[in-house]
């Protein structure tokens, strides 16, 4: 089985090159996908990268949700296609109702770019199997609208079903229950605000390190695809 991992470029996507590089670094085949194309080019998994799709002038991710490529991705995700939404990609997944809840303006009202300590709470997803449960990792965040919110019922459900994937160790933005990332019930769709693709090389990762704590997101999916 091949391991073709697609990365979608919307107009305004910024971290698409970084995601493609991360996919390549772990030995998978990176495939660039274009927002106007419904065809997913036989990819086995999809990354929705960070950025400001369509400028995010309305609500982050609100326009991207309606792009042709998302029609195919939403349908595929419901059938089990692994999808990882990073930052703006997480916002798109919430807008698409593949994941519950929403991302709103940070508590401090400012854009925050910093190396963030996190805890991996679920290793049963397609994207986190290479971590150990409870593992503490360091991965950058960089966003202005990263504060996760959902109604109490949804939050309780996420907790009960073990779908909180990563949590902040020192909550930077007021996210509900320190949530930094979540999964759908099947575990194939994961969205998170931190940027694992920015923590994949000693040269460019968080400083002071560890610099490559983001790699397991990409090795996890590679192993799963190769094993399939």
């Amino acid at each position: 089985m091949s391991a073709r991992v697609g990365v979608v470029t919307f107009p305004g996507s910024q971290d698409d090159q970084d995601a493609l590089r991360a996919v390549e670094l772990v030995g998978a085949e990176p495939i660039a996908l274009w927002h106007r194309e419904r065809d997913l080019r036989q990819v086995d998994a999809v990354v929705l990268p960070g950025g400001f799709s369509y400028g995010d002038y309305l609500r982050a991710g609100a326009i991207a949700r309606f792009s042709p490529v998302m029609e195919t991705i939403v349908a595929g995700a419901r059938e089990g296609l692994p999808v990882l939404g990073i930052c703006n990609g997480f916002q798109v997944l919430c807008e698409s109702h593949l994941l519950p809840g929403a991302l709103i303006r940070n508590g401090g009202m400012l854009f925050i770019n910093r190396d963030q300590r996190l805890r991996v709470d679920s290793v049963s997803t397609a994207w986190t199997a290479d971590y150990t449960a409870g593992q503490q990792i360091l991965i950058p965040i960089k966003n202005g609208e990263g504060r996760y919110t959902a109604d109490e019922h949804t939050l309780d459900e996420l907790e009960a079903e073990g779908r909180v994937v990563v949590r902040y160790l020192d909550n930077p933005n007021g996210s509900a229950r320190d949530i930094a990332g979540i999964a759908n019930a099947a575990g194939n769709v994961v969205g998170l605000m931190p940027h694992p693709e920015h923590a994949v090389e000693e040269l460019t990762g968080p400083y002071p390190g560890p610099a490559t704590d983001g790699l397991p997101f990409f090795t996890s999916i590679l192993k799963r695809l190769v094993a399939a």
Partner: protein, 774 residues
């Protein structure tokens, strides 16, 4: 995207057009040229050039193209030294005069970089001023054919606790983040400086850098009669029109938007799309020439493109139909369309055969593109509006033949007095306890304090090539994943030094940026400068400018780093009060292997600390005198350019050969501030023992050893097993080196003087910005 015919703005505003014909027939009509900033003798010259009075559209063009901002009329005679004294180098591919300079960085790669000011707009409207400052400089880089890969922002504000600074700074920072982050460009460095002289005149400079294949350099020239002139990107609106409304106000009819912002409004999404669109167009080699629309908008792009072709080949000219320009506001009049500074627009010259493919790429990116004109061989720039000719000029007279002023200048009468008021009489800390307090005070001073509150609002990671950024001596980027070839950039400036002695101050700015680049292991290559000054009409300001440019040109010659381009910003003054002369210098360096970079942090217990260079009693213009005594007087530190070059060679060799654990340049706040910064960054303390060799240089006074700002110095951390080899490298080259201590413990300690726990230092250093702005 629409075909040109459909795009014509069908509803022509009711308006009596001042045509060329009409202008020739009505020589006595008075145009409000003075309201546009055109001096009476300049107006006479325009009449002489045209052989008639200008039309109002022509006057709009001349007024904006002959402005100080566009024509450099006051600075030109001084700036030409950068060419005359340019060092003889083989890596300069494009020098000053184009949108940005281009240097060969090895392999098949070229790098283009430039710094510009957006001072005045950022004072009026901090967010949009700073945002469009980024947008403008990034388009300059793009215009050269390069992919923009990073930005940096040297910023200067009034006092940190002043009410107006709390209006300006947060807006500027949010604007830089809001625009730059949305553009997907890492922000990899800059400066934040506070001084009362910038109250009312903040300096918001922006540097951008881009990379391209050497073979893909693009130039702003409209060659080839018959080629099409395409305007693409955002629609043209009424923002940033400035004085042009004066021309229209007398005659326009009712129903037009009356309030128009004088500051342009940025749309980073449009610019991001425009960048990707342009890069695809460049990759397919579809443009003959290209120019961005910045200051002076269409007036500038049309006249510069046409003039460059005429200048180069003697053949050229351009016909433009102004009514084809896509508008956001259909009521705009021709004068306003010509002067609008709406952002995110580009103009390309394309052969007829390539037009369809060009439009295809624009369509892919949803970018509006319109053929608005044709290259001709008439030697004239002719612009029509709804069939009537409103401009008919030789484009060179607009773009290149503006006035040149030899402004009078003289050394200010107060200069001697200022230099005589040395810091020698200021009371200095004498006891260990007084030194300790001074260290903490400076570490927490807004100029030296941790800037995390600001830089956390910028994305420095995007594109995944940022090797060093804020907090390091330079910003460093990987250019090539395979070879690890990279570049480093640093910007520096010190208005206090330049006020005391503009010649030396400009050289010190260069020396510091050069040293910063070398401290990270990169070889300094070339220079861009942003010269921020008061009014050129003040002979004393003009003297400062003349001295600073002379100093910079002389120093660039000695260091072998040519000025490749830059920007002059005059009129940074309120009434009679000018800012300190503030030349900000950006230095670009190259590093063969970015994994060899040197960081500034003390990371390893037991490393030996060495002080490179010589320390003298040089506290004139120092941070200590400024913070503790509010004093500015005496002379700035001396500059020894040969020493700077030697220091750089040693730092680069140390990095290349893996001898250095850390290096940090010594500048504001002196040795002790550098040690504090490196210790906090690495989380390891330092035990300092000031050796006699150093104390002897400063009359035995530990205060001077710790706080003097002598140039040509750096502190390095060296593994014990490299100490001998490294000190031998220094000695064999004649660079003074002194062992001053070790990396050790949880405190910064100066033996027999004081010890400060890292936690206490950290509180002082990091608490300032959140307390001020959080």
């Amino acid at each position: 995207m629409t075909a040109p015919e459909q795009n014509r703005n069908s509803t022509r505003p009711a308006y009596v057009v001042d045509t060329v014909e009409h202008a020739a027939a009505s020589p006595d009509v008075q145009l409000p040229y003075e309201a546009l900033g055109v001096k009476p003798d300049e107006y006479d010259r325009i009449r002489e050039i045209l052989g008639r009075r200008p039309t109002s559209c022509e006057l709009a063009m001349y007024s904006v193209m002959w402005s100080e901002h566009c024509s450099y009329k006051s600075s030109k005679v001084h700036l030409k030294q950068f060419g005359e004294k340019a060092p003889d180098v083989d890596f300069l591919l494009v020098g000053p005069g184009e949108n940005a300079g281009v240097v060969d960085v090895g392999g098949d790669l070229a790098v283009t970089f430039k710094i510009e000011s957006h001072n005045h707009p950022s004072y009026v409207e901090p967010y949009q001023g700073a945002a469009t400052g980024i947008g403008g400089i990034v388009r300059d880089i793009l215009t050269m054919g390069a992919r923009p890969i990073a930005v940096m922002d040297p910023l200067r504000f009034g006092p940190a606790d002043a009410a107006d600074t709390h209006r300006v700074l947060p807006g500027v920072v949010r604007g830089i983040g809001g625009y730059g982050n949305s553009l997907g460009l890492p922000n990899i460095g800059g400066e934040i400086v506070f001084d009362p002289c910038y109250a009312g005149n903040p300096l918001v400079n922006a540097l951008a850098v881009g990379v391209m294949k050497k073979s893909e350099i693009k130039l702003a020239q409209a060659h080839g009669p018959g080629n099409k002139v395409i305007l693409f990107g955002a629609r043209t609106g009424g923002d940033g029109i400035g004085g042009a409304s004066v021309l229209a106000s007398a005659t326009f009819d009712d129903g037009r938007p009356s309030k128009r912002p004088s500051v342009q409004v940025g749309d980073p999404f449009m610019e991001k799309v425009l960048i990707e669109c342009c890069l695809e167009i460049f990759a397919e080699d579809l443009v003959v020439g290209i120019q961005d629309l910045g200051a002076a908008g269409l007036s500038c792009s049309t006249s510069e493109l046409a003039a460059a072709a005429l200048q180069q080949t003697g053949v050229g000219g351009m016909d433009v139909q102004l009514d084809l320009v896509p508008l956001r506001d259909a009521t705009l009049l021709p004068e306003e369309i010509l002067m609008s500074e709406s952002q995110e627009r580009m103009m390309a010259v394309v052969t007829p055969a390539d037009v369809e493919r060009f439009f295809g790429i624009c369509e892919k990116w949803d970018v509006t593109a319109t053929v608005v004109g044709t290259v001709t061989d008439t030697g004239r720039l002719r612009i029509t509006w709804h069939g009537e000719t409103v401009v008919d000029v030789d484009p060179r007279t607009v773009a290149h033949q503006g006035p040149v002023y030899h402004r009078p200048y003289h050394r200010p009468a107060w200069q001697d007095e200022l230099q005589a008021a040395t810091p020698d009489s200021l009371s200095r800390p004498k006891t260990g306890e007084e030194l300790r307090e001074t260290v903490l005070r400076l570490a927490g001073d807004p100029n030296l304090a941790d800037k995390r509150w600001v830089i956390e609002q910028y994305d420095h990671r995007v594109r995944g090539n940022t090797v060093l950024a804020h907090g390091e001596d330079s910003g460093m980027l990987r250019l090539d994943d395979e070879s690890n070839l990279g570049i480093a950039l640093a910007t520096d400036g010190n208005g206090r030094y330049a006020k005391l002695d503009p010649y030396t101050g400009a050289q010190l700015a260069l020396a510091e940026a050069y040293r910063n680049v070398a401290a990270t292991g990169a070889r300094p290559l070339a220079v861009t400068d942003c010269l921020n000054f008061g009014s050129p009409e003040d002979p004393e300001v003009m003297w400062q400018f003349a001295e600073a440019t002379r100093g910079l040109a002389d120093a660039c010659q000695v260091l072998g780093t040519p000025v490749t381009g830059g920007n002059v910003s005059f009129y940074n003054q309120t009434n009679e009060q000018a800012i300190h002369p503030t030349p900000v210098v950006g230095v670009l360096g190259v590093i063969d292997d970015v994994s060899r970079r040197t960081r500034s942090a003390f990371e390893h217990e037991g490393d030996v600390l060495l002080l490179l260079g010589e320390t003298h009693d040089e506290l004139g213009g120092s941070e200590w005198a400024h913070v503790v005594h509010g004093h500015l007087g005496g002379l700035p530190p001396r500059v020894d350019l040969e020493r700077e070059r030697l220091l750089a060679e040693v730092l680069i060799a140390g990095s290349r050969d893996g001898m250095l654990s850390a290096a940090h340049d010594l500048s504001d706040g002196g040795l002790i501030q550098a040690v504090v910064e490196s210790a906090l960054r690495g989380g390891h303390g330092a035990r300092i023992v000031l050796p006699d060799t150093v104390l002897d240089q400063v009359g035995g006074d530990p205060f001077v050893a710790l706080f003097s700002e002598s140039a040509g110095r750096a502190v390095v951390a060296v593994p014990r097993n490299e100490e001998l080899r490294f000190t031998e490298v220094c000695r064999s080259r004649g660079l003074p080196v002194a062992r001053i201590g070790v990396v050790e413990g949880e405190a910064v300690e100066v033996r027999s003087q004081f010890s400060i726990p890292l936690e206490e230092l950290r509180r002082a250093h990091t608490g300032t910005f959140p307390a001020l702005f959080g």
